[in-house]
Structures are given as structure tokens and as C-alpha cells.
């Protein structure tokens, strides 16, 4: 399989997972998007543009999914942003406080991201991954100005969420 795919897959799954909130579903979307790109490989220079096209395809698929489906939440899943339910983690296996704090922060970011609308989330994540405003605008089908607004509000919301979570105060 092409080298660019192996390089892009981890980030693509992480991104899709963040957008749809379900790892299995995310992997399914990523696989489908990769297959579609490979079917139409003749139209593109995938070595050069494959990663960008894949993220665009994932963005569209995830947004479509959100607009098509109303997500239902099982009581078993309630309380865990990653949908892992109430299963108790083996704390003995990760004793260092730093690891625990990192895990707490990871869960907080995951939870914070789920409070954002899918377009806000996509804009923020794509920005953090280094995509330029114009590229994100193209992926989301909005104007560059819209992207800037989405990212600005998403950052503000995330900062407020994290501050509330860890200090009990919202940022200004």
C-alpha cells in the first residue's frame, strides 16, 4: 500500500474519532474514505495531495453523519467521553501521578471537544494540525472568514471548558 496512506492513517483515525466520538465508527469512515480515494487515484496526485484529500473526505463524511444521525447515548456510556463505559481502569498499572494527570487532561480535552459543534471541532482540530485557513475553508465548504470565526469561538469555548474543569473558573 502507498506510503502516504500509512503515514496519514493514525492522524486520520484520531481526527475522525474526535469528530464522531467512536473509534470503530471512525476507523470504518477512514477505511471507506481511503478506498474511495484509491478508486479515483487516477484523478489525483495522491503522493502530494492524498493526506489533504483524505482529511477533506473524512470531514465531509463526519459532518454528513452528524447531520444525518441523532446520536443516542447509552446509560452505560454516560460519564466517559471516549464511550468506554464505566469500566474501571487498572490504576495500579499507571501509578505515576503525571500519567494520571495526563489521562485526566486527555479526557477533559476529549470531553471539551464533544461540547463543540462538529464544524467548530473540525475547524479547531484542522488548525491545530497545521492546515491553513484557505484549505480548511475548502474542506468545510465555508468562507475563510467563517473558518476564522469558527476557530476563534472554538478556542474560546475550549479554554473556558478546561479552566472550569481544572480551576473551577471560566476564563475571561
Amino acid at each position: 500500500m502507498d506510503g502516504w496512506i500509512a503515514l496519514a492513517l493514525p492522524g486520520a483515525v484520531a481526527y475522525a474519532n474526535s469528530l464522531v466520538g467512536d473509534r470503530t465508527h471512525a476507523e470504518d469512515i477512514v477505511q471507506e474514505c481511503v478506498c474511495r480515494l484509491l478508486f479515483h487515484a487516477a484523478r489525483y496526485d495522491l503522493e502530494r495531495d492524498g493526506r489533504k484529500l483524505l482529511f477533506r473526505s473524512i470531514t465531509n463524511a463526519c459532518i454528513n453523519l452528524h447531520t444525518r444521525e441523532r446520536k443516542t447515548v447509552s446509560l452505560d456510556d454516560k460519564g466517559r467521553a471516549d464511550g468506554a463505559g464505566w469500566e474501571v481502569a487498572d490504576r495500579a498499572a499507571v501509578p505515576p501521578p503525571a500519567a494520571a494527570m495526563a489521562e485526566e487532561l486527555r479526557l477533559a480535552i476529549a470531553e471539551g471537544l464533544t461540547t463543540l459543534g462538529v464544524r467548530y471541532r473540525a475547524a479547531l482540530e484542522l488548525t491545530s494540525l497545521g492546515y491553513e485557513t484557505g484549505e480548511i475553508a475548502e474542506m468545510l465548504g465555508v468562507t475563510a472568514e467563517n473558518v476564522r470565526v469558527l476557530v476563534f469561538r472554538a478556542r474560546k469555548s475550549m479554554a473556558a471548558f478546561l479552566n472550569a474543569r481544572f480551576t473551577g473558573e471560566a476564563s475571561s
Binding site: M1, I5, A6, L9, P10, G11, V13, A14, Y15, N17, S18, E27, V30, Q31, E32, V34, C35, L38, F39, H40, A41, A42, M101, A102, L105, R106, I109, A110, L113, L124, E125, T127, S128, L129, A154, R155, K156, M158, A159, L162, N163, F166, T167, E169, S171
Partner: protein
């Protein structure tokens, strides 16, 4: 991940990036690649050729047709069981197309079974009984020297389409080519790269079996035109690809023109040859001594001479442009 409180809005990007990177680190890439490969394989196997497209010999009776379908299914299943690479027909043809796009010059011998009417109507774009096609990306050169006159036509690096008639060469920029030539060029469709592009877009592809060619493995792909595809000249094709190098070793395209008329088509066979000088893809290289090339700079004279040569009245400019816009162009 490190957190500095209070969280500033400018820190959010870095936190999100680290979160995504940590999440990415847990992805099992090898498993995903295996699953994608399996999906690609399924997709090609799940697109069976319509029964009416199967070779007539096998489709004559229900029993033969059933046997053929079973044989195809078993062959495909065996192929995928024994050959994890390449993944599927589309991936393989796509790789072959990319190989033609980026790779070195490729030379094919082309044998044609074409309607006499076409050959008479298009004496400058023909293959005769056999021709040689060189291709390098968008460039191609068709040479046939076994007819009454040498025939050369092709496309240069600027995608200018050209042909030689007697001591005069005609060269057209993309968008300038008269519709009559566009249609003829499409019918003869001698650029393997463009043909493969068509197969990817407008055909159902199925890997039928693998075989050997001079000790080397070759995968045979059966292509059938999708019913909804428009402006496609050929109905079926066999594409033989070396799975290791993605080289198209043989390509056989066919058009069914009715029960009473035998199908016509073209057979491309790869020929081991050294690369062609870049200048050979240009019209100038094939002009006879003292010959003149009429290109875009002499558009008025060129078009007058062209329509005189064709022996038809020149269409009104607007009509010509309209027709050109509607004509199915293969040059993209």
C-alpha cells in the same frame, strides 16, 4: 501533555494537537491497511460483469453461463487467497495508469480491427493493420508505415494535437481541435494512459485470473462498460498487468456492433524498446523535407487547409465551438 493554568486560548491548539497525536499513536496501522486492502478486493469482486457482457461462447447456454460465473468466482477467490497484492482491480489499474503517467516511455504495437468506413474517412488518423504507439504521460506518438503512406500523429508536451498529411502538418492547441478529429481520435483512442483512465471512470473492473508471461506473473482484468456510462466507444476490454511493475503488457479493447457484424477493436502489446527522444513527440520531427507545419500561429490558414483536406464545408465558428464543447474529449 502539560497543562498550564489558567488555559489561554492560544494554548488550545497545542493541547488539541497533542491530544490528537496521542490518540493517533494508538492506531494499529498494519491492521487498518489489511482491512483496507480487503475492502478494495471485495469491491472489485463484488462488481461482477453482467452476463450479457460475458464472451458469447460461454453465455450461449445457462449451464455454460453458470459454469463461467462459478469459475470466475472461484478464480477470484483463489486469486485473493493466494495473492494478497495487488489489492483489487481498481487499485491495480490505477497503479498501472499512474505508472504510465509518471514512468518512462512505453511502446506498444497496436493491431486493429476497425470498420473500413472509418479508415476511409480518416486517412490521417489511422493505424492500418498495425501501428506503433509511444506514450509518455500526456504525450503520445502513433506511427504506421505499412499502409500506402507513412502515417504519424500524436500529442506533444503542451497537449497540442497534431497530424501529418502529405507535406503538411497540422497542429491544434487543446480546445482548438476540430470536432471531427476529436471524435476520430476518441474512436481510435490510441493513448493507453487515457484508455486506462476511461476504464477507471466508466467501467466495472474485475480480476479474473493471473497467468504467466515469459515466466512473469500477469494479472488479467476484465472490464465491462457501466450501463450508465455515456460516450464510451468500447464495450469490453481485457487488461493484462504485471502486478510487480504495474506495467500493462497487453490491452485488448472491443466494441460489439451487432449480432451479424464481428466486433471490432484494438490490441495493444507492450514492446521492449529504449526511450524515445522527447522531440519525436513533436510534429516537426515527422515532417518530410520541405514540409510545412501549420499551427496555432497560422490558425486561419490551417483551418482553411484542414477543411479543404477533409473535403467538407467548414462549419460556422459558433457551431464548431458548440460541437467541440459537446464532443467527448479524451485529452483531459
Amino acid at each position: 501533555m502539560n497543562l498550564t493554568l489558567p488555559v489561554d486560548e492560544q494554548d488550545v491548539d497545542a493541547l488539541v494537537r497533542e491530544y490528537l497525536e496521542a490518540s493517533a499513536a494508538t492506531v494499529d496501522v498494519e491492521r487498518l491497511e489489511r482491512e483496507i486492502t480487503a475492502r478494495l478486493g471485495e469491491a472489485s469482486v463484488m462488481r461482477p460483469a453482467p452476463a450479457s457482457r460475458l464472451p458469447k461462447l460461454l453465455a450461449r447456454t445457462g449451464a455454460w453461463a453458470t459454469a463461467a460465473v462459478v469459475l470466475v468466482a472461484v478464480s477470484a477467490a483463489l486469486y485473493f487467497t493466494l495473492q494478497p497484492e495487488p489489492a483489487g482491480a481498481y487499485a491495480l489499474v490505477s497503479a498501472a495508469q499512474q505508472s504510465l503517467e509518471k514512468g518512462p516511455d512505453r511502446c506498444y504495437r497496436v493491431e486493429g480491427r476497425l470498420p473500413e468506413g472509418w479508415l476511409k474517412a480518416n486517412p490521417w488518423l489511422r493505424v492500418g493493420e498495425a501501428a506503433t504507439v509511444w506514450t509518455r504521460g500526456d504525450r503520445f506518438l502513433v506511427s504506421s508505415d505499412n499502409g500506402p503512406v507513412d502515417v504519424h500523429w500524436g500529442q506533444d508536451e503542451s497537449r497540442n494535437f497534431w497530424f501529418i498529411a502529405g507535406d503538411t502538418g497540422f497542429s491544434f492547441r487543446p480546445g482548438e481541435t476540430p470536432p471531427i478529429l476529436l471524435r476520430t481520435r476518441m474512436y481510435l483512442a490510441l493513448n493507453p494512459r487515457q484508455l486506462l483512465n476511461r476504464f477507471l471512470k466508466d467501467f466495472d473492473l474485475t480480476i479474473i485470473k493471473d497467468r504467466e508471461h515469459q515466466g512473469q506473473p500477469v494479472v488479467r482484468v476484465w472490464a465491462t462498460r457501466k450501463p450508465e456510462s455515456k460516450d464510451i466507444v468500447f464495450d469490453t476490454a481485457w487488461i493484462e498487468i504485471d502486478p510487480r511493475t504495474k506495467l500493462v503488457r497487453r490491452l485488448e479493447v472491443e466494441r460489439n456492433v451487432g449480432q451479424r457484424t464481428p466486433p471490432f477493436g484494438l490490441i495493444f502489446t507492450f514492446v521492449e524498446q529504449a526511450s524515445l527522444p522527447a522531440s519525436d513527440y513533436q510534429a516537426q520531427a515527422h515532417l518530410p523535407p520541405g514540409g510545412v507545419l501549420l499551427g496555432p500561429d497560422q490558425a486561419a490558414e490551417r483551418d482553411d487547409r484542414f477543411w479543404e483536406l477533409v473535403g467538407r464545408r467548414r462549419p460556422a465558428a459558433a457551431k464548431s465551438q458548440e460541437a467541440a464543447d459537446k464532443a467527448p474529449v479524451d485529452s483531459q
